[in-house]
């Protein structure tokens, strides 16, 4: 009997297993295909825009490729710029899981970077070795970012203050706080060109990943994205967050601490953005000044939406946009286009992407018979 039953059982299970997989693939294919379609549409629209201005779209895209991905040098430059984008995109994606639209990553980045540069001054002067100095800087930078966005989350939960507006207001306040100190009491008077804090010095800079010109921020971003993905999909905490994001009332009725979850998600988000600020200071700039507000926080919003707030998907999308940002200089020089060209492309992509939300559930090919609609 056993001889007969064995193949039968295997035969009974295997097709089910494959059907399951195909259902899952077809479902997730929608989440890949529609954003890709939106990207293609915005590329076409942007080509029309360039064409109307008398510029060649082909030149543009080939320059973006060359400046962002074409050579080993440009690829490393791209990775360098993807590091803050991964972190600022996580700062949007994690609160999005609990239903909040937070766009204040830029402020947490600036403030986290500034405070880590400020806290480094006495440590560097006190001759603390580089490794503990950097660890303290990173912890302080992420902590400040966490508090900054945590306030937004707390206001949302406790007072019902709209988190989108308040997080952007907090960004302006954060930049003003940095300017106040950088042009005031913490200004390095030996540097007359641009108001900055005292440089932390070459010995104290974060090193490169061996064999590359890319700093450790990229590795930190990727590891954090994977960890947060596991946290959001494989833990009770992540499950509670997703329930609260899907239906806050049901979550409250289940006794979930929704307010606490909101604040924690916001603090994780702020810590990511603050860490991005730390790496900008400790690996790129070496000091805090107005260059910290370079727009990574805003590009990160687009990256997160394009990745559908999935931490793993954020990594390739951030690399793509890192490349577009990195190629900006080359495009500017060769095609005589203003540096805002990248902003137009990003804005257009964002608008088209959000408009494409309406396509979900409209294509038969992605629909699996009897399955509940997912949005």
């Amino acid at each position: 009997m056993a001889d007969v039953a064995e193949p039968l059982r295997a035969g009974a299970i295997a097709p089910n297993h494959w059907a399951d997989l195909s259902i899952r693939i077809r479902r997730s294919a929608e989440f890949v295909a529609i954003p890709l379609f939106a990207l293609a549409v915005s590329a076409v629209l942007f080509s029309v825009f360039l064409f109307l201005l008398g510029k060649s779209p082909l030149d543009f895209y080939s320059l973006v490729y060359r400046g962002g991905f074409g050579t080993a040098f440009s690829l490393q430059n791209t990775f360098q710029r993807s590091a803050p984008l991964i972190l600022t995109a996580l700062a949007v994606a994690i609160p999005a899981r609990i239903g909040l639209v937070i766009i204040g990553g830029e402020g947490a980045l600036v403030l986290g970077g500034f405070v880590s540069a400020a806290v480094a001054i006495p440590l560097v002067l006190g001759k603390l070795p580089p490794i503990p100095t950097l660890i303290i800087m990173a912890i302080v930078g992420s902590f400040v970012g966490a508090v900054w966005i945590g306030i937004v989350g707390y206001l949302r939960y406790a007072r019902g203050v709209n988190e989108t507006i308040s997080s952007l207001l907090m960004t302006y306040i954060g930049i003003a706080i940095m300017n106040f100190f950088v042009e005031g009491s913490l200004r390095d008077l030996t540097n007359p060109n641009k108001p900055s804090t005292m440089p932390i010095g070459d010995n104290y800079m974060v090193g490169k990943i061996p064999g590359t010109e890319v700093h450790w921020g990229l590795a930190a971003g990727i590891v954090l994205a994977i960890v947060l993905h596991i946290l959001m999909t494989r833990t009770t905490f992540g499950f509670a967050v997703r329930v609260s994001g899907g239906n806050p009332r049901a979550a409250l009725a289940q006794g979930l601490p929704v307010g606490k979850l909101i604040v924690i998600c916001c603090m994780i988000a702020g810590a990511c953005a603050g860490l991005a600020g730390f790496f900008e200071v400790a690996a790129i700039q070496g000091r805090a000044n107005a260059s910290l507000a370079a727009g990574y926080g805003f590009t990160g919003i687009l990256v997160a939406f394009l990745a559908r707030h999935n931490p793993i998907a954020i990594i390739p999308v951030a690399i793509m946009f890192g490349g577009i940002v990195a190629s900006g200089g080359l495009v500017q020089r060769r095609m005589d286009l203003p540096d805002a060209t990248v902003l137009v492309l990003q804005g257009l992509t964002f608008v088209v992407l959000l408009a494409s939300e309406t396509l979900y559930g409209r294509f038969k090919i992605f629909q699996v018979g009897g399955s509940a609609e997912r949005t």
Binding site: V101, N162, L168
Partner: protein, 306 residues
Amino acid sequence: MNDGALAIVLFAIVGGALRVSTPFMFVALGECLTEKSGRVNLGLEGTLVLGAMTAYAISFHSGSPWLGVFAAGCAGSVLGAMHGYICKLPKVNDIAVGIAMMLFGTGVAFFFGKAYIQPSAPRLGSFSLGAWTGNQQIATALQINPLLLVGIAVAIIMAWAFANTKWGLIVRMTGDSAPSAKAMGVSVDLVRFLATTIGGFLAGVGGAFLSLFYPGSWNQGLSSGQGLMAVALVIFARWSPIRCVIAALLFGAAGAIGPALQSIGITQGYYFFNAAPYILTLGIMIASAGSKRAMRDVPGELSITK
């Protein structure tokens, strides 16, 4: 500080409030109209910047600043129409689209605006409310622009129209309950589309004021959040056009404290006073969010206060 300096500071704050408040007023009125119809347009920050750039460019090329103001309104209504159209598609979130429009509008403005940072365009004229005092300093401090009066007139007309006209009733009904508007045979999408477009026009005009009167030049740092603050201000004004004007004046005064103190040589805490409007906005949002009075006046279909 002696009495003379205090008087100068006070006049500078009042004059500053009258000057600085105008863009707040236009954006807030535009947003008020849009929100009354039940939709939120967070993209008015981008509209403000694009309006400022368009007004400056058109004024430079045509030599007529008022043509620039009109062009700014048109540019604003294009952005408003885009927002209105995209949001009527099912499953699209109006707040997210607003963020995208903010980035898009700013990007387009910076793209085309690069050529206009250097040249000098004809500005809007002004007249002084303080000329009768015969005091030169007061007269200079109280320079105002006709657009301020236009803004106040728009607010009064809007308030009257909301209360007394068929159109006002349709907008309010659409904002309070889409099903009842549908039951009355009103096209909800069309009403909201038009309300967003006209709201965009007003915000664009507010941008024209920035580049053509005060501060009166075009550069990339021209607006940093005024458009967004104006959106927050509408909640504080509890969706009343008249209260929008009062709130805008209050914000203008907050924004004018820093420059006013600077004019008599107090530069301490300049950056703090720069941040004052943002902190004030946040404080106002905290105070007015969740208050019973705000909840009573909120249009029922609005997603921003939920």
